[in-house]
């Protein structure tokens, strides 16, 4: 059974304006997303800025209330739980943010910060708190004197380690990592990615890894979901994304990524056209404005996300790809 199950999740953000400051439009940030995350799995969420991947992460952790849909965590429906009712699940669901500087309180030492969460969630008996925190600091690879220091005394990579320690301190089973390495230098990215792999193995974590970097996702994740303008357009395993990607958007993302080898320079894929406004997404497929294989049907209705390959758990939302696959199988 899936640890996390999301059904038809929708999030609209109201846009206020006009004479009486009424709601004049809605941003369709997450639009009818369904997904499952299995125990012990790393699921990658990929997409460009504004595709709703971070909003999805914050909806699943219930940092935002959803507009409609359903979030089921380990058999419990979290969708409309109140703040108080969410408390027991905060201990089990944690989030790591992108910007380590702004997600740490500048007035708290690392020790105080960790003590607060450990005490609040009563992770260990009070007399063991100190040794527990020391162990946590050690686990994420911070120097032992880190306890007494303030966030500004650390480098970007170390701050991200503090963020990971804070998430890990409550012994969660599920972590949402929202672009945890995008703000870091290349050499530090590898360090943090390795740390995440280690703690995943050691604590048996399930991770939802949000990123815009397909290279990192295909390296780290088991499965991958590609989002475009609030919708899931493709879901697949990460073993060999270059060979298996089917949706034109996923292919374009792969084609636009430069190869790290000057001898294999290629013509980078260029997507013409602009992303449609999320205020008023088109009725059909959101990718119509830039799709190289667009056809009449795509403007009319959104292609359903359907299994193309049940064994491989690959799902694609594209009429044309679906037809090509059907022809092949016949």
């Amino acid at each position: 059974m899936a640890l996390v199950e999301v059904n038809n999740l929708v999030k609209h953000f109201p846009v206020k304006g006009g004479l009486l400051n009424t709601t004049i439009a809605k941003v369709h940030a997450v639009n009818d997303v369904s997904l499952q995350i299995h125990q012990g799995e790393v699921l990658g969420i990929v997409g460009e800025s504004g595709c709703g991947k971070s909003t999805l992460g914050r909806l699943i952790t219930r940092l935002y209330p959803p507009t409609s849909g359903q979030i089921i965590y380990d058999g419990n429906d979290l969708t409309y739980r109140s703040y108080g009712e969410m408390r027991e699940f905060r201990k089990r669901i944690q989030i790591i943010f992108q910007d380590p500087s702004s997600s740490l309180n500048p007035r708290m030492t690392v020790g105080t910060m960790l003590k607060e969460v450990v005490k609040f969630h009563k992770v260990v008996p009070p007399n063991e708190v100190n040794s527990y925190i020391d162990a946590m600091i050690d686990k994420v690879g911070l120097p032992s004197d880190a306890r007494e220091k303030y966030p500004h005394e650390f480098s970007g990579g170390q701050k991200q380690r503090i963020g990971i320690a804070r998430a890990l301190a409550v012994q969660p089973d599920f972590i949402v990592a929202d672009e945890p390495i995008s703000a870091l230098d290349v050499s530090i990215q590898a360090q943090i990615l390795n740390l995440l792999m280690d703690i995943k193995k050691e604590f048996g974590l399930t991770i939802m890894f949000i990123s815009h970097d397909l290279k990192v996702v295909s390296h780290f994740c088991d499965r991958l979901i590609v989002m475009y303008l609030g919708k899931v357009v493709e879901e697949m395993r990460c073993d060999d994304i270059h060979a298996e990607a089917l949706h034109p958007y996923t292919k374009a993302l792969l084609g636009a990524n430069p190869v790290d080898d000057p001898d294999k320079r290629k013509e980078l894929t260029i997507l013409e056209g602009e992303v449609p406004s999320p205020y008023n997404p088109p009725p059909g497929c959101p990718f119509v404005t830039r799709c190289p294989i667009v056809e009449e049907q795509c403007h009319q209705s959104m292609p359903p996300l359907e299994y193309k390959d049940v064994d491989n758990q690959q799902q694609v939302a594209c009429f044309k790809v679906e037809r090509a696959l059907n022809q092949k199988s016949e």
């Binding site: 290279k215 780290f220 790290d260 001898d263």
Partner: protein, 350 residues
């Protein structure tokens, strides 16, 4: 004889220096930029030398704080005089003049006209209260003798060159009405409107999505081919370098640690830092999936507290006793490579 002599006296020389279009347009020699801070004086860029030829893209790579942006701002003379200065030996030769010694007024005639720059943040480098067209026109007003209508035609032409859709309408819009990719294209149009001989692009695609990045990279490539502009491309993204650069300069803690052609740097890195940096990029593909990445342990040394020996000593896998006490010199290898290391890695020079 002259060939050898010049190879020894200058740290970086493009391969075919004899042909006329390969003569350097910009040559930076022993550039050192210092900042006065509350904690004392720091040298953010330390003895950097390189040459740039027309129609060539020089990539500058390095982690944050390695001095790559300070290098570009020093060339543009954009650093505040209040707390920064160039050391006296620094030379920035451009068209027979030393930019390091020019007055502000003389520099203004060159900056934005013959040497232009694109910044990382297209959001903050455009003025929010003027239309895009007005801001492009301003550069032309300063640097050309065109009249109003000619200038406006040029503005539209430039916006068209950078493939901005509907240039006539977009020219009358304000920056906030454009998307990030469009703003960056406006920045490029602005940088190119006076046909500069040198274009400095400081992390031009870092804030953008990959699909927009590919557009910007293709655009810069086309412009280079068309106008024979020399480009300095500063980035921390090795993929971008592999895609667009001809030669690469790797910086670490204010120093040049390695320089060479893009093929040599990627296939036969000689400095342990370059080697480690290349290894730490995740690679797509089934056999790499879930494998641990090789990392560079530790962090960049603080510029306030630099080691006496090699600056990469703490993090280097190949360090030996000599490296701790003596800083290696930048040494010339064959194929126009320069490496700052006592014990260069990799195979023999081919």
């Amino acid at each position: 004889m002259s060939n050898q002599e010049s190879a020894n006296s200058e740290t970086a020389k493009p391969e075919a220096a004899d042909s006329d279009n390969r003569a350097p347009v910009l040559s930076v020699r022993r550039l050192s930029t210092c900042f006065r801070t509350d904690r004392g004086e720091v040298t953010a860029v330390d003895d950097v030398s390189f040459e740039l030829s027309a129609g060539e893209t020089l990539g500058i790579v390095g982690e944050s704080g390695c001095g790559k942006s300070v290098t570009s701002k020093s060339i543009m003379r954009l650093l505040p005089k209040r707390n920064s200065f160039l050391k006296p030996q620094s030379e920035i030769m451009f068209d027979g003049q030393d930019l390091a010694k020019l007055s502000d007024r003389e520099m203004r005639a060159i900056r934005g006209n013959r040497i232009a720059m694109i910044f990382q943040e297209p959001m903050t480098s455009l003025n929010p209260v003027f239309t895009v067209g007005w801001q492009l026109d301003e550069a032309l007003k300063y640097h050309t003798k065109l009249n109003r209508t000619e200038r406006w035609d040029r503005v539209i032409e430039m916006l068209d060159t950078v493939e901005l859709p509907n240039p006539h309408r977009r020219a009358l819009e304000y920056p906030h009405q454009l998307s990030g990719g469009m703003r960056q294209r406006v920045m490029i149009a602005m940088a190119l409107c006076c046909d500069p001989e040198v274009l400095i692009a400081d992390e031009p695609t870092t804030a953008l999505d990959v699909t927009i990045q590919s557009q910007i990279l293709r655009l810069m490539d086309n412009l280079k081919k068309k106008l024979n502009t020399a480009i300095i491309l500063i980035t921390h993204d090795l993929g971008v370098i592999a895609q667009s650069a001809d030669r690469v300069l790797v910086m670490y803690a204010g120093r040049v640690v390695e320089m060479g052609s893009v093929h040599d740097i990627f296939h036969n890195p000689k400095h342990p830092y370059t080697e480690a940096l290349l290894k730490s990029i995740p690679k797509a593909g089934p056999k790499n999936h879930g494998q641990k990445l090789p990392t560079i342990d530790g962090i960049v040394p603080s510029l306030y507290d630099l080691p006496i020996g090699c600056r990469f000593y703490d993090r280097c896998d190949h360090r030996q006793d000599l490296c701790m006490g003596t800083e290696p010199k930048l040494e010339q290898h064959v194929n126009d490579r320069t490496v700052r290391c006592h014990y260069p890695v990799g195979g023999e020079d081919s």
